[in-house]
């Protein structure tokens, strides 16, 4: 069943079109940076972007930071929102359930397929980012990489980071992998919202927009001082904490909180999705 869902997902032209579009923006940004040599000042613009001119090996992180606020969540919400509602709208859901695919098994398979999409997408963005970064920018020998600091541009985290220390290539690789994993978990939260909405409606568009509405509301409330009491519970609150992997030593506090928060959202929403879907009258 899981293999079937993966086949459906990755044989679909739309999946690859989405991933392609997702990679287009960082490539455009990279080309513009190379042509103009105008990097954002440290602390401004997407994290890491100011550092890439001096070290292209950091471009995977810049690429992820570019797509993280909008493109990546939209892609994940589209795919996850389509997972059940799309089958309902096409009418294939009734045939799957009468086959019988088993409602819980179907939901688990859909979840795994969405998870695979998230991982594949994040990894592809990182890999394409690395290729673009090392081709277009100077790929410094990583041994001398200095993050943050003033001269080469900070990691976009202001002056509070414990930066300025050199990281070994091994260190950079490890931290990049951890950051990729952290971003994947953050996207899983988006996927959980969209999957839950997807079991509520027969309209994939409705499910996707519902999940995006949650994210937009969360981002908006995050900027509002009056909402500060609930800020720690907003789903998007700790998304950018992946930057903390590049402080020295790694600042675990927000990362841990982010993982816990996403974990709670994922468990609660998937539980709700299951409870709803397992007893639902399928009339589509």
């Amino acid at each position: 069943m899981i293999l079937v869902e993966l086949r459906k997902m990755f044989r679909r032209p739309r999946t690859w079109a989405t991933i392609g579009v997702l990679n287009a923006l960082p490539i455009v940004v990279a080309v513009l940076l190379v042509l103009t040599d105008l990097a954002p000042r440290p602390g401004q613009g997407p994290p890491f972007l100011s550092a890439v001119l001096s070290n292209g090996a950091l471009y995977p992180l810049a690429a992820l930071a570019i797509v993280l606020p909008l493109f990546l969540p939209i892609a994940v919400a589209v795919v996850a929102g389509d997972s059940v509602a799309g089958e309902a709208q096409a009418g294939t859901l009734r045939y799957l359930l009468a086959r019988p695919a088993g409602r819980t098994r179907l939901l688990v398979a859909k979840l795994v397929a969405v998870l695979a999409f998230v991982l594949v997408t994040v990894v592809i963005v990182a890999v394409v980012g690395y290729l673009v970064g090392t081709t277009l920018f100077h790929a410094q020998p990583l041994g001398s990489t200095v993050l943050g600091g003033t001269g080469t541009g900070g990691a976009g985290v202001g002056g509070t980071s414990v930066s300025g220390t050199a990281l070994t290539p091994q260190d950079i690789t490890n931290r990049t992998l951890m950051a990729v994993g952290y971003i994947a978990v953050s996207m899983l939260g988006v996927a959980a919202f969209a999957l839950f909405f997807s079991t509520l409606t027969d309209s994939p568009l409705g499910a996707t927009l519902g999940a995006l509405a949650v994210l937009v509301a969360s981002s908006l409330l995050f900027t509002l001082d009056a909402a500060s009491p609930i800020a720690p519970y907003l789903p998007t609150r700790y998304w950018l904490s992946f930057v903390d992997f590049f402080r020295d030593p790694i600042l675990w506090r927000d990362i841990t909180r982010g993982l816990e928060l996403q974990g709670v959202y994922v468990v609660v929403l998937l539980g709700a999705a299951w409870a709803n879907f397992a007893t639902k009258d399928v009339t589509s």
């Binding site: 069943m1 459906k8 032209p13 009734r94 009468a98 019988p100 009258d281 009339t283």
Partner: protein, 306 residues
């Protein structure tokens, strides 16, 4: 309870609407069961409950000896279904669609999958369809592909909702022949339809649904049994009335209905009196007459409230 489909007091309530109101279906092995009813009478909801898509409000369903929806995983692989028209993944070919749905549940071995797909595509007349994506199929081809999907695991029971929808007359005849072939090979067929003619040509038993209630369930042969009257066709209906004084039940133009279940006797009397007889037959009600007598107005009519 024993039988292929048995329901007891099956009820489905959608909000304030009682879509299915206490029906007791009884489909026996070897039946071709026609499930008749106007649009909106609850046919589709009933079919969905049989297949575990809609959960009953109350009542019991037994499908191939298993209590639905709990036994779904055990019995549904032995059922082939076409529910409210076919549905496929438009960007994939027919073959890939069949392979995906076959791999989505128990009871379809991947070893035999390629062979089974080739067989059913041949059976429904799509053997040469190639790698064209389903979105390029015509309505009739999609219907055939849906039927192929239902046949993929040689089911003991076929549950078909409007299987000839979208087919041209030749296609309808082909599907009818196919269903009769499968039935001869031992498949029980549950055919939900609002096309009386289709059901009359195919089915051995019918159930008639009217506004969520099963108003009729019997053998077609019993329902359309002779009524005990003889239909006489004659150019001189008045002479018939004069000759068979008091036995004429009704007359309509050249068609006179005479009480008496022996056409030969009626004929002898009329010929003896010199009345010309151009046609003579036992009176049988058509299925349409039986069904219309058992049901009320069309249930998708919405009358103004006064």
């Amino acid at each position: 309870m024993s039988g292929v489909i048995v329901t007891r007091g099956l009820v489905k309530q959608f909000g304030r609407l009682r879509a299915v109101d206490g029906i007791d279906l009884d489909v026996q092995p070897g039946d071709i069961y026609g499930f008749l009813g106007a649009n909106g009478s609850g046919k589709t909801t009933t079919v969905r409950m049989l297949l575990g898509l809609v959960l009953p409000t109350s009542g019991e369903i037994e499908l191939l000896g298993g209590r639905m929806p709990r036994a779904g995983r055990r019995v549904l692989p032995r059922v082939g279904a076409l529910i409210e028209g076919p549905a496929h993944y438009g960007h994939l070919s027919g073959r890939e669609n069949l392979a995906l749905i076959d791999a989505s549940g128990p009871g379809g071995s991947w070893r035999t999958r390629r062979r089974r797909i080739a067989e059913v595509l041949d059976q429904v007349g799509l053997a040469g369809v190639g790698r064209k994506p389903v979105k390029a199929y015509s309505l009739g081809m999609r219907q055939r592909l849906g039927l192929a999907g239902a046949l993929l695991r040689r089911p003991e029971l076929l549950v078909l909702d409007e299987p000839t929808n979208g087919l041209d007359p030749q296609g309808i005849t082909e599907v009818r022949e196919l269903l009769l072939d499968l039935h001869r090979a031992g498949t029980t067929v549950f055919l939900s339809s609002h096309l009386l003619a289709e059901v009359e040509q195919l089915c051995s038993r019918v159930g008639v649904l009217d506004r969520g209630r099963l108003v009729l369930q019997d053998e077609v042969a019993t329902l359309t049994a002779p009524t005990g009257a003889t239909v006489v066709e004659t150019p001189l209906p008045d002479r018939v009335r004069a000759t068979l004084d008091g036995r004429v039940a009704s007359s309509d133009g050249n068609r006179v209905v005479v009480r008496g279940a022996d056409p030969a006797e009626v004929n002898a009397l009329l010929v003896g009196a010199g009345v010309p007889v151009t046609g003579l037959a036992l009176e049988r009600p058509t299925l349409e007459q039986v069904v219309l007598a058992a049901t009320g107005a069309s249930s998708d009519r919405v009358e103004a409230r006064r």
